[in-house]
Structure formats: structure tokens, C-alpha cells
């Protein structure tokens, strides 16, 4: 990758969709209204685990204004499959059962029935009149309960995939066991001068997007369905709804509205199948919007975890052996990110001997969904805490020890393949030189560091670049844009064709208007969709070269392209170059409109690494801690729009800090969620955080024409460890359970 100089890439234009967002004109899921629209509400289970004995909807159906009532009888059981982001092809049976319970309710908030009525108020009151007879069952709400001998079993037919030969067969709550080994850990730990081992626990937390799930579905008389929805992947919504409802996908069109945050939580369907089914019964379009309480109880969370971590090192800081046993809550159905955690936990370090066991465990809590680098934050919290403890006990600079063991190009990743060019060493060296690392600390303050890794997905994307006669262009893709990828795509088209960025209109098209696109997730949109956009722009360029060849009457091979103009290559008769504008103006006469198109399905992008430095001030009399300084340093390959790369790093750091300090699902013993509101689910507010300094390191990723790596998910991986290590530095006490809430911190400090 020669150090290429760019013209548009790396600049910071105002994002094209910004004006609508700062004036309130942007349309999110709940902003859509359609003629004849009525409103849907969901009846949800009050019990964490119960058999659905009977559902009597007569009282609800009798209410004035009620147009349709939906129960399990209205939705066929399905065993269809759909491609679902990084999870690859997954079965829809569980997602369908989660959308509307069939035989059992598996968590408080599990959908049992739905009503559509002429007003939301009537729909809600009608839902309350549905009489459901539950046979309440004992619940397994925590990992310990689910793993205990003769624990209540959520799925009778479930057997552990990848079961160790020694494990018993028969009903279990362990859906999957993943094992990864290398070398000989007994020999490795034998050589170690120091071994640190601890058990780490992280709570179930939520992505916390400010926009609740919302959609409108219109089931037409001719079986044609249109769904407007806030989602990270409207092609996935189309296929999932078709599979769950037993409809022909060719009859479904999905329009992606602006999305008010997702972070992985909007990569599955909750309301869309219900709205479509209600619309079919009511013969009216149906709008459904979750309340904030429903968002917490019935969507999105990521796994709470219990991770035992043991690492051995030589006196000089060389890591020689590591072993870990990891348990991830899957929620009501198999599918926790135990695999992601297993693959990430040692991804930053060269460890010759390791053993990893990871378990995917179902519990009577909401079905887990992806949350930004799924599985990695909890795993890194354990690894980075133990590595930090080793450095402390060896009296070594924590960055020094990490640099000594940091993986580099040619090392074999714990999950198998060797690393290509990666930037972990550059990132750690940048951290050591950063003024924050040398800055003095105040009283009751501590400093912590941690590394973070994520794979960054590839997957399938499509792009179209339309050239207008006036020389302006439009770029169209199928990936909903949360963090500014439309602006990045415009920059790429500008870089390739020399059109000013503000004369390029980026947009996200519906499932009828653009080629297939995998979900927006896995930090893939700038990488993979960007690759398609670049190729589509190059397609326009090559078509314009052909148009110049036509005008000059020469062969295409004799026409080149330099800084926005078709040029006659040497060997061809000399010609004054034809600018893009001139060629665009002559489009009609040289062959008609020019539309560039490209589709890609690249392998995984180059991995991204980061190091975070956190200064924490602790009030030792109350246990309250405040982040007083925070620096995030990350290898981003090539920053297309630096402001939005910084935004990903700052947003991920804030989510990680919240996860470390105050966020948790608080359950009562009967399996009911106690803090399903933004008042008591304590996400960081503006006054909780300092400015978050960002440093963008650019180690080019050879797999992308501009060197781009995915940047969206790495930022949330280091903060849990960085904050915990800072608290250790400030108090002298190693805390191994998150969140590091004031009651937990004070209880431990006053014990010593």
C-alpha cells in the first residue's frame, strides 16, 4: 500500500442528511403515517417462565374500535432460515417464537398477543382484556440458576452442541460449547514465574438506543406487503418476515426509515411480523411503536457473563500460558456471542499455550441480540484485568508489558488464521507517547489502560452511482446509515470522479430499488459497502472513458483517466482532455445515461485494535467514581470522514464507560425487571463524562482500495478494562464484578 495521497478522502464535509436532522424533518420509524392507518399494541407475559395454557380474546374483540387480535394461532410455526449478519444463516423458528410465544413464555415481557385498533389507547386497553391462563413454571433467571443441577429447563429438546464427552447428555440449558486450544497449558503454566487467576462477572446490559423500535406495515388486498421500519437491515427484515409469516418474499417490500441508533439491537425483527399479520387481519395499515419499558424488557440486551481467567507470565513479562472458562447468557433462545468472546479474549497477545472453553447458556431473560463487538467487551474486561494485575505484580509499566506481547503481522490469531498488517503495536506506542500517559494524577485518582480488538465483517453489499447530465451524481446503497456512512460514500465517489462532495447525493434505497445488502453491523459499511461504492464509481469512470473513445474515434484502451478528466494516452492522437462535466453533458449523444453499478461480498476486513487510557477519581467515602480524563487511540486503517470515525470512538467509549460504572439489568427474585426506564437504567449523561480525546492511527488495510478498516465496534471493547484498571490504581483494590457502582465499591473499600 504505497502512501497514497487523497483529495476528498480525509476531509470533513457536512453530512448530507444533516440538515433534515437539525431541523426535525428527518423521518424515523415512529414518524411515518399512512392513509387509513390504525395502531397496534402488544400483550406481554408478566411471568419469567410459564406454559401458555389458553388465550381468550373474545372480550378484546368485542371492544368498539378493535379491528384485529393476533395470537399464536395466526402465525404458522416455521423452520425457514435467513442470512443474519455475522451469525451467517440462522433459523427463524426462535425469532418467530420470540415475536409471539407459541407454547411457553420464556421471559417477563415475552409477547403473547397483539391488538390493532383505531387508537393506541383502545388497542392498549383491549390488550389488557385478553384473558391468558398461564401455568407458571420455576424460572432460571441467572447463569448460576440455569447451570445448577436439575435447573428448570427452558427448551426440552435442547442438547449441547459441541458437548464435551464427559458432559452428561439429556435436557440442558447449555445450547453450545466452544473449545479452542493451542500448545500445552500445563507445560506453559509450569514455566510461569507468576500466575494470576480470577473470576469476572459482567451484568446484562442494553444497547440503549434512544429511538424505540417502530414500524408501519400495510398488507394490501392483493397480498402485496409494504413495511416501513427503523432497522439496521431492511433486506433481513424482508426475508425474516417472509419466513416467519410463511409469505412469498417477492410480495414484500421494506423501506428503511432513518434509524435512531441500533448498535446491533436492530438486527432482528420484533414488531414487523406482528404489524404485517395484524394488517392482514384488519385490512388496514398498522403502526406499532414500543414503549421504553418494552424496549428494555423485550428487546436487545447483551449477555451477562461469568468468566474465569488464568494467565501465567515470565518475570520479564512474557505471557506463556492462559486458560479461560466463559459462560454467556443467551436469554430465552440459544444465540449468545460466546463464540465472539472465545475468539477475542486472547486476540491481542501472543500466548503460545492456551485453552478456551465458552458456553452459550439459555436463561429466562429477553432473547440476547448483538451489541457492538458482541461478546468481546466482557472477554476483554477479564483478560485486560488479569494482564494489568500481572504487570502490577511484576512492577512493569502496563503498556510495556502489553507491547512486549502484542501480536503483529504473521502471528497466528487464537481463532486460527495468521494476521495480515495490523496496528496494535503502533497504537500502544502512540499511547506511550501521548501527553495523557505522562500527565500527573490528582488526589484519589487512578489511571488504567486496556487494549481492544474486533474482526470487522465483510459480507455482501450493492451500490449504484448515477451520473446526471449536469455533472452531479447520486450514490445509492442498501445499508441504513447510523453513523455518517452516506457522507463517507459521497467522499468516495468524489475521490474517484472528482465531483465536489456537495454535488453528490447519497441515499439508502428500499428492497425494490437496490441490490441485496447484508445488515449494517459488524463495522462493515464503510469497508464492504464502501468497496462497492468505489467500484461503482470506477464503473462510471470506465463508461466515460468509452464515451471519450467514441468522441475521439479511438479504442478504449487508448483513453486514460486523470484527475477528473478523460485523457488520450500516448500512442493515441493528441486530444485536449474531456472533463467529466463535458462527457456528462454529451451523455445522450454518446450512448445514453451513465449508471455505474457494483456488488461485493468480501471476506472479513482487516482486524482493528485500540488502546484506551482512563483517569478515574474516586470518592472513597461514598464509593462514587467519575471519569476525569479519557483518551481513545485506535488503528482505523484509513479515516474516510475523520469526524465520524472520532464519533464512533467517542460513542463506543461512552457506552463502555456506562457498562463499567452504572449500567445493569436489575432483576427481582421472581424474574421481573426492576429498572426498565431511562431513570433507573443509568446510562452516562453529558455531565458524567469529560471530553473524550481521540487519536486516529492509520495502518492501511491491504484488503481495501483506500486501506479502510472497520471502526464501529472496536471502541466499546477497551473501556470496561480501562475503567476497572483505573479503579484498581486509585483504590489498590481489584474489582472483578461490574458495574463498579457506588454501593459495590464502598462495600469493598470499607471491608479492607
Amino acid at each position: 500500500m504505497s502512501a497514497r495521497t487523497f483529495t476528498a478522502i480525509g476531509t470533513r464535509p457536512v453530512r448530507h442528511d444533516g440538515l433534515d436532522k437539525v431541523t426535525g424533518r428527518a423521518n424515523f420509524g415512529a414518524d411515518i403515517t399512512v392513509p387509513g392507518m390504525i395502531f397496534g399494541a402488544v400483550l406481554r407475559s408478566p411471568h419469567a417462565h410459564a406454559r401458555l395454557v389458553s388465550i381468550d380474546t373474545t372480550a378484546a374483540e368485542a371492544m368498539a374500535g378493535v379491528k384485529a387480535v393476533l395470537t399464536r394461532d395466526d402465525i404458522p410455526e416455521t423452520f425457514a432460515k435467513v442470512v443474519m449478519g455475522e451469525a451467517g444463516t440462522i433459523g427463524l423458528h426462535d425469532m418467530g417464537d420470540n415475536a409471539l410465544a407459541r407454547t411457553k413464555v420464556l421471559y417477563q415481557g415475552h409477547a403473547v398477543a397483539a391488538v390493532a385498533a383505531t387508537s393506541l389507547d383502545i388497542a392498549q386497553r383491549a390488550a389488557d382484556r385478553i384473558k391468558v391462563v398461564y401455568e407458571v413454571l420455576p424460572a432460571a433467571c441467572t447463569l448460576d440458576q440455569a447451570l445448577a443441577p436439575n435447573a428448570p429447563i427452558l427448551h426440552e429438546g435442547l442438547r449441547t452442541k459441541g458437548k464435551a464427552t464427559s458432559d452428561a447428555d439429556g435436557p440442558t440449558n447449555v445450547a453450545m460449547r466452544i473449545e479452542m486450544r493451542r500448545g500445552d497449558i500445563d507445560q506453559g503454566f509450569g514455566e510461569a514465574d507468576i500466575i494470576v487467576e480470577d473470576e469476572f462477572r459482567t451484568p446484562m446490559v442494553h444497547q440503549g438506543y434512544i429511538e424505540p423500535h417502530a414500524c408501519v406495515a400495510r398488507y394490501g388486498e392483493d397480498g402485496q406487503v409494504v413495511i416501513w421500519t427503523s432497522t439496521q437491515g431492511h433486506f433481513m427484515v424482508r426475508d425474516s418476515c417472509a419466513g416467519i409469516l410463511g409469505l412469498d418474499p417477492a410480495k414484500i417490500k421494506v423501506v428503511a426509515t432513518e434509524i435512531g441508533g441500533g448498535f446491533g439491537g436492530k438486527i432482528s425483527v420484533y414488531l414487523e411480523p406482528l404489524a404485517a399479520a395484524l394488517s392482514r387481519k384488519a385490512h388496514r395499515p398498522v403502526k406499532m411503536v414500543m414503549t421504553r419499558g418494552e424496549v428494555f424488557r423485550a428487546s436487545g440486551p447483551t449477555s451477562g457473563t461469568t468468566i474465569r481467567m488464568k494467565i501465567g507470565a515470565k518475570r520479564d513479562g512474557t505471557l506463556v500460558a492462559a486458560s479461560t472458562t466463559m459462560y454467556y447468557e443467551a436469554g430465552a433462545y440459544p444465540g449468545s456471542p460466546a463464540g465472539g468472546g472465545a475468539m477475542c479474549c486472547f486476540a491481542s497477545y501472543r500466548i503460545p499455550n492456551f485453552s478456551i472453553e465458552a458456553y452459550d447458556v439459555v436463561v429466562n431473560r429477553p432473547r440476547v441480540a448483538a451489541y457492538r463487538a458482541p461478546g468481546a467487551p466482557a472477554a476483554a474486561f477479564a483478560t485486560e484485568s488479569v494482564v494489568d494485575e500481572i504487570a502490577r505484580r511484576l512492577g512493569m509499566d502496563p503498556l510495556e508489558l502489553r507491547l512486549k506481547n502484542a501480536v503483529t503481522e504473521g502471528d497466528r490469531a487464537p481463532y486460527g488464521p495468521t494476521y495480515g498488517p495490523i496496528g496494535l503495536r503502533e497504537v500502544i506506542e502512540t499511547a506511550r507517547r501521548h501527553p495523557h500517559w505522562q500527565a500527573p494524577l490528582g488526589p484519589n485518582q487512578g489511571r488504567g489502560v486496556a487494549c481492544g480488538f474486533w474482526f470487522n465483517a465483510g459480507m455482501a453489499s450493492s451500490a449504484i452511482v448515477i451520473l446526471h447530465g449536469d455533472g452531479s451524481a447520486a450514490v445509492v446503497t442498501g445499508n441504513p446509515d447510523i453513523g455518517g456512512t452516506r457522507a463517507a460514500q459521497a467522499l468516495m465517489v468524489s475521490e474517484e470522479l472528482g465531483i465536489p462532495v456537495d454535488r453528490i447525493r447519497p441515499s439508502v434505497a428500499d428492497t425494490d430499488s437496490i441490490g441485496y445488502a447484508d445488515v449494517t453491523g459488524g463495522s462493515r459499511v464503510c469497508y464492504a459497502t464502501g468497496m462497492a461504492v468505489i467500484q461503482a464509481a470506477q464503473d462510471v469512470r470506465d463508461q466515460l472513458r468509452q464515451r471519450a473513445a467514441t468522441i475521439w474515434g479511438v479504442d478504449l484502451s487508448q483513453v486514460g483517466w486523470e484527475n477528473g478528466q478523460a485523457v488520450a494516452l500516448d500512442g493515441a492522437p493528441a486530444q485536449t482532455p474531456l472533463t467529466l462535466a463535458e462527457l456528462a453533458d454529451k451523455m445522450a449523444s454518446t450512448g445514453g445515461p451513465v449508471v455505474g453499478r457494483a456488488t461485493v461480498s468480501p471476506p472479513m476486513a482487516g482486524p482493528g485494535f485500540a488502546v484506551n487510557i482512563c483517569d478515574l477519581e474516586v470518592d472513597k467515602e461514598t464509593g462514587c467514581s467519575r471519569v476525569v480524563r479519557y483518551t481513545a487511540i485506535q488503528d482505523v486503517g484509513k479515516a474516510i470522514h475523520p469526524s465520524f470515525v472520532e464519533g464512533q470512538m467517542q460513542g463506543g467509549a461512552a457506552q463502555g464507560i456506562g457498562w463499567a460504572l452504572n449500567e445493569e439489568y436489575v432483576y427481582a427474585s421472581d424474574g421481573t425487571l426492576q429498572n426498565a426506564s431511562f431513570l433507573d437504567y443509568r446510562m452516562p449523561v453529558a455531565s458524567d463524562l469529560p471530553p473524550i480525546e481521540t487519536v486516529l492511527v492509520e495502518v492501511a488495510n491491504p484488503l481495501h482500495p483506500y486501506g479502510v478498516r472497520g471502526v464501529g465496534e472496536v471502541p466499546i471493547v477497551p473501556p470496561l478494562g480501562a475503567v476497572a484498571n483505573a479503579l484498581r490504581d486509585a483504590t489498590g483494590v481489584r474489582f472483578t464484578e461490574l458495574p463498579l457502582s457506588p454501593p459495590r465499591v464502598l462495600a469493598r473499600l470499607s471491608k479492607d
Binding site: V22, G24, G647
Partner: protein, 166 residues
């Protein structure tokens, strides 16, 4: 129960609508008046996405009854810009990339405009504590605070040099 007939002023223009006694101002704005720029994030006054100015005072419109605004005046995000001219806070949010998904942006802009009207020279701490009632999950608040501080500076400069201050 007959609906309530409300006559009010929204963004400087007379407006009237019918509402139920229990309807909130947020619901009236988004349905009766079709002004969907004000967003609902929680409906319990904890996220700030529904912030509006009621007789010039910053309030959560999800905790105001629609019936209350009879002959009072409401300013929403749709009324912050003046025709083609964006308010400096709106302009700085764009320049600083102080928004990503944008669902919290209307609430932040209305809250920031309210702050700068009562405190033209806020410190960073003032800005962060005033905006603590507006939740954002995408940005980590950094660029939002910078955008508001920059808007304050620009408005002071404009005021000092006699240009039309907003």
C-alpha cells in the same frame, strides 16, 4: 366525553386542534399538528428527546398535557431556524458532526437554544449540566458540547459586531 378545543401559537403561527384530556403536548404535536420533529424516547421525562419551549421555558413535552397550552405559545425544533437561515446552534451541530443517528438532535438543539438565551457565555461545565437531561447514545456528548460552545462564541461575536444576533 367531548374533546377539548385548544387554540394556541406554535412556532409563531396560530394553531388549533382537538385533544383528549389525557393527551400530552408531545402526542398533540406529533399527531394533531403533524410536527414530528419532536421525538419520543421514553414518555417519562428522562431522555429530553421531546424538549420544546413553552412560553420560552424549556420543558419535556411528554409531561405537559395538550390541554394546558390553550392561549400559550410553543416553540419546537421546526421553529428554531428562520426561513432559510439556520440558528447558529443548528449550523454548529452540522459543522462539528455533533450528531450521528440524529434522533436526539432536535431535543439537544432546543435545549441548547434555551441555554444560550439565558446564559450567553456558558462554561463547558454549565453546558454539560444543562444538557444532562438530554440522553445521547451515539456521540459520547463530546462534539455536542463543542458545537454549543462554538455557537455561543459565534453569537457573542455577531452580537458584538452589531450583526443581527438571533
Amino acid at each position: 366525553m367531548p374533546k377539548i378545543h385548544v387554540r394556541t401559537t406554535v412556532n409563531g403561527e396560530p394553531a388549533e386542534f382537538l385533544c383528549e384530556p389525557g393527551d400530552t403536548l408531545l402526542e398533540a404535536l406529533r399527531t394533531a399538528l403533524n410536527l414530528t420533529g419532536t421525538k419520543e424516547g421514553c414518555a417519562t421525562g428522562d431522555c429530553g428527546a421531546c424538549s420544546v419551549l413553552l412560553d420560552g421555558r424549556l420543558v419535556p413535552s411528554c409531561l405537559v398535557l395538550a390541554a394546558e397550552i390553550d392561549d400559550r405559545s410553543v416553540q419546537t425544533i421546526e421553529g428554531i431556524a428562520e426561513g432559510e437561515r439556520l440558528h447558529p446552534v443548528q449550523q454548529k451541530f452540522l459543522e462539528h458532526a455533533a450528531l450521528q443517528c440524529g434522533v436526539c438532535t432536535p431535543g439537544f438543539i432546543v435545549a441548547a437554544v434555551a441555554l444560550l438565551r439565558r446564559q450567553p457565555r456558558p462554561s463547558e461545565r454549565d453546558v454539560r449540566y444543562w444538557l444532562a437531561g438530554n440522553l445521547c447514545r451515539c456521540t459520547g456528548y463530546d462534539k455536542i458540547v463543542r458545537a454549543v460552545m462554538d455557537a455561543a462564541d459565534q453569537m457573542i461575536d455577531a452580537h458584538d459586531t452589531g450583526k443581527a444576533a438571533v
